[in-house]
């Protein structure tokens, strides 16, 4: 089997390299029939697409890092992660509307919102979602440790109930959280005359901060050390007299809170509506399948690949075919699975 697997892999790797080279040449020099044309002629739109990809990757990373943290330590596939995302968004939305009001006839505008009225709802939403996740883990998952499929099914049941209850309480109309007025501006990058939305750069900044924070936490603190040890060998860690259940609880709290925080940013950047939860569950799954489940670096790389591929595919396909861009998400996934079934940074369990 190994010879066959090896040939399968090298074929996949060759396809991956050829496709990337072709994509690069196409974007830089050819790009026939696209709205922007080749990047050497239109640096501005190329740069904007690149930034769109990077900032989208930031949001993917924030949400998926929570997913991969929980999975890496506990082998729990939290199918309610998308529902947690949506719940976080709705909580922040309701808090902001409660404090600032419903706004004028056009709804709440960013000019009516100051920094505090965005950050405090965001933090409260993240903490509440963290506790929701923690209680789900304590009530339903803790005593099923090791039964991966059963735990996944339990979180699916919770996701169904949460999604339906959110539809009942928050309605089916798409709504969005207002950015603070200070952020809702354009930033002059002084490169190729690009004016870029500050909010997207803010998302990217938060993502980098979350990534750094998680990295420092996992590398430098005692809890982080226990988590890294637990990812490798849970039984050994608990045999050494460490309270692994407490570590599980902390990881589940942080992982769910990251989904909630992602929901607040996603709800400000785009909007909140039924169905958003399944899109974000999909995004998190793709990021961790590409990057390798349980790996923080893998989540970062997976988020970058997904963000860049989706944005460049929809911008640089010929205009008549832009709606085929979803195919590229599948191709990305297919190539990674063909070359590395456990993801780029994945290790056998």
């Amino acid at each position: 089997m190994s010879a066959r697997t090896a040939s399968f892999r090298s074929a996949g790797a060759v396809v991956a390299v050829l496709l990337s080279v072709f994509a690069l040449v196409w974007i830089l020099f050819i790009a026939r029939g696209t709205s922007f044309g080749p990047a050497i002629h239109d640096r501005k739109d190329f740069l904007i697409t690149l930034l769109n990809g990077l900032t989208a990757a930031g949001l993917y990373f924030v949400v998926a890092s929570g997913f991969t943290l929980i999975f890496g330590l506990m082998r729990v596939v939290n199918m309610a992660h998308g529902a947690f995302f949506l719940l976080g968004g709705y909580i922040a939305l309701k808090l902001q509307r409660h404090w600032v009001g419903e706004g004028g006839s056009y709804g709440l505008q960013s000019s009516q919102v100051n920094m505090r009225n965005w950050i405090i709802p965001a933090l409260i939403a993240a903490i509440i979602v963290g506790f929701v996740g923690l209680s789900m883990q304590q009530v339903f998952l803790r005593w099923n440790q090791g039964q991966e499929l059963r735990q996944a099914l339990i979180t699916i049941a919770i996701a169904i109930i949460l999604a339906d209850q959110m539809l009942a309480h928050f309605g089916g109309v798409a709504e969005d959280i207002a950015w603070p007025g200070k952020l809702d501006t354009f930033w002059n990058l002084r490169v190729a005359g690009v004016q870029y939305t500050t909010t997207r750069l803010f998302i990217l900044g938060v993502a980098v901060a979350v990534g750094l924070g998680l990295w420092l936490w996992l590398k430098k603190t005692r809890t982080g050390m226990v988590i890294r040890a637990g990812v490798d060998d849970r039984q050994m860690v608990s045999a050494l007299g460490i309270n692994i259940q407490l570590t599980f609880a902390i990881a589940f709290f942080i992982g769910s809170a990251l989904a909630g925080l992602g929901g607040v940013m996603g709800g400000s950047f785009a909007s909140l509506a039924p169905g958003v939860d399944s899109n974000w569950l999909l995004n998190s799954l793709i990021v961790v399948i590409i990057g390798g489940m349980g790996s923080l670096a893998g989540a970062a790389v997976g988020a970058l690949l997904l963000g860049l591929v989706t944005n460049f595919a929809s911008a640089y396909l010929p205009s008549d075919y832009t709606y085929y861009s979803i195919i590229f998400t599948f191709v990305l996934l297919a190539i990674v699975l063909a070359v590395r079934p456990l993801g780029l940074f994945g290790r056998p369990a």
Partner: protein
């Protein structure tokens, strides 16, 4: 024959007789709306249970395959007045293409996912399913958001509202054929080695069996079964849109399989029956009203927590009480013991 299997055979025969004379026993609404839907959902769930019970693969992609069959049929047979290609070809050619293309996509999905095991397999097939859903939502050449309407069933079956019993019997016949086919396949040498792969992929691999190929072929075969359900679905519904195969539809089929029981093929139709009846009657319960999905979520949660082997597991426990407590010699292991996360 043990007492247990005697009881099971008598009950099975009774259910079959009731199903055969159902149009005499139930009103048209029950036959055309509930029982036909139960049968076609049961076929899709049966393909999932086959993969889970005999291949150790819990798949989310069955609904995508069923949707692909439905969309292909719709594109091929419709003639103007709707989205899609509107090829206007013969419905039997449509059936052939629908099942052929859906099976091929199934083989492709299977080839990509089959080197992953347990919970990874579940996640990968979930992403395939959601991507298929988004594909049909975005690509207006084949469907677009509104979907394909006015899909006719072949003339032999006719319009469902005019001849409700014809489609019911076709669905019943297909269900019986699918059930017997699945029962047969698991007894063939291929089915037996598939079960070996389920139990210990490493050992099977060192015995010289191609693990990946077995799992890919099993996935392709299950895709064929799911495609049958998809064709019946568009005949029954006359319409298919991306919402027919979205995440909640995928979860619905998984719920059906789990409520029934993930380790016996019969459980698919049992789960589908409970699901369809709950779906239909929960609207009338005042405190449930439109909150059907909360109710089904709670039922699902209760089943997973209390009886991981589903209703068929409860039934077997009941049989154990009635008959002398001989240990069950079933072909598959209960869900709680499916090895997950192991890697070849």
């Amino acid at each position: 024959m043990t007492q247990r299997s005697l009881i099971e055979r008598v009950v099975g025969a009774a259910i079959l007789v009731v199903a055969l004379i159902a149009p005499l026993l139930f009103n048209t609404y029950w036959v055309s709306a509930l029982l036909t839907q139960m049968l076609l959902l049961g076929i899709v769930a049966a393909s999932l249970i086959f993969l889970s019970a005999y291949g150790g693969m819990v798949s989310f992609a069955q609904v995508a395959i069923y949707g692909i069959a439905g969309f292909v049929f719709g594109n091929v047979v419709t003639n103007g007045n709707t989205k899609g290609l509107n090829l206007g070809w013969s419905p039997w050619l449509g059936v052939l293409l629908a099942i052929g293309i859906a099976t091929l996509v199934g083989v492709l999905f299977g080839a990509l996912a089959s080197r992953s095991f347990g919970i990874y397999f579940l996640m990968i097939t979930l992403t395939f399913g959601v991507i298929a859903n988004l594909f049909f939502g975005q690509v207006t050449d084949f469907s677009g958001f509104g979907g394909i309407s006015g899909i006719p069933a072949p003339g032999l079956i006719g319009r469902v509202d005019a001849h409700p019993n014809r489609l019911y019997y076709v669905a019943l016949g297909t269900s019986i054929v699918v059930f017997l086919l699945l029962k047969y396949v698991v007894r063939t040498p291929f089915g037996l080695s598939l079960q070996g792969v389920r139990d210990d992929p490493v050992r099977m691999s060192s015995l010289g069996y191609n693990v990946t190929l077995h799992r890919t072929l099993a996935f392709g075969f299950a895709a064929f079964v799911a495609a049958l359900g998809g064709v019946l679905f568009v005949w029954w519904n006359g319409h298919i849109d991306p919402a027919s195969i979205d995440l909640s539809a995928m979860i619905d089929v998984l719920v059906i399989a789990v409520i029934g029981g993930l380790y016996r093929v019969e459980a698919a139709w049992l789960g589908a029956f409970v699901f369809v009846v709950l779906n239909n009657y929960s609207q009338r319960i005042s405190f449930v009203g439109p909150r059907f999905h909360t109710l089904i979520g709670l039922v699902f949660l209760a089943i997973v927590l209390v009886s991981p082997n589903g209703l068929i597991g409860l039934w077997e426990r009941f049989l154990d009480l009635v008959a002398s407590g001989r240990s069950r010699g079933g072909p598959a292991e209960p869900i709680a013991e499916i090895p997950a996360g192991s890697d070849a």
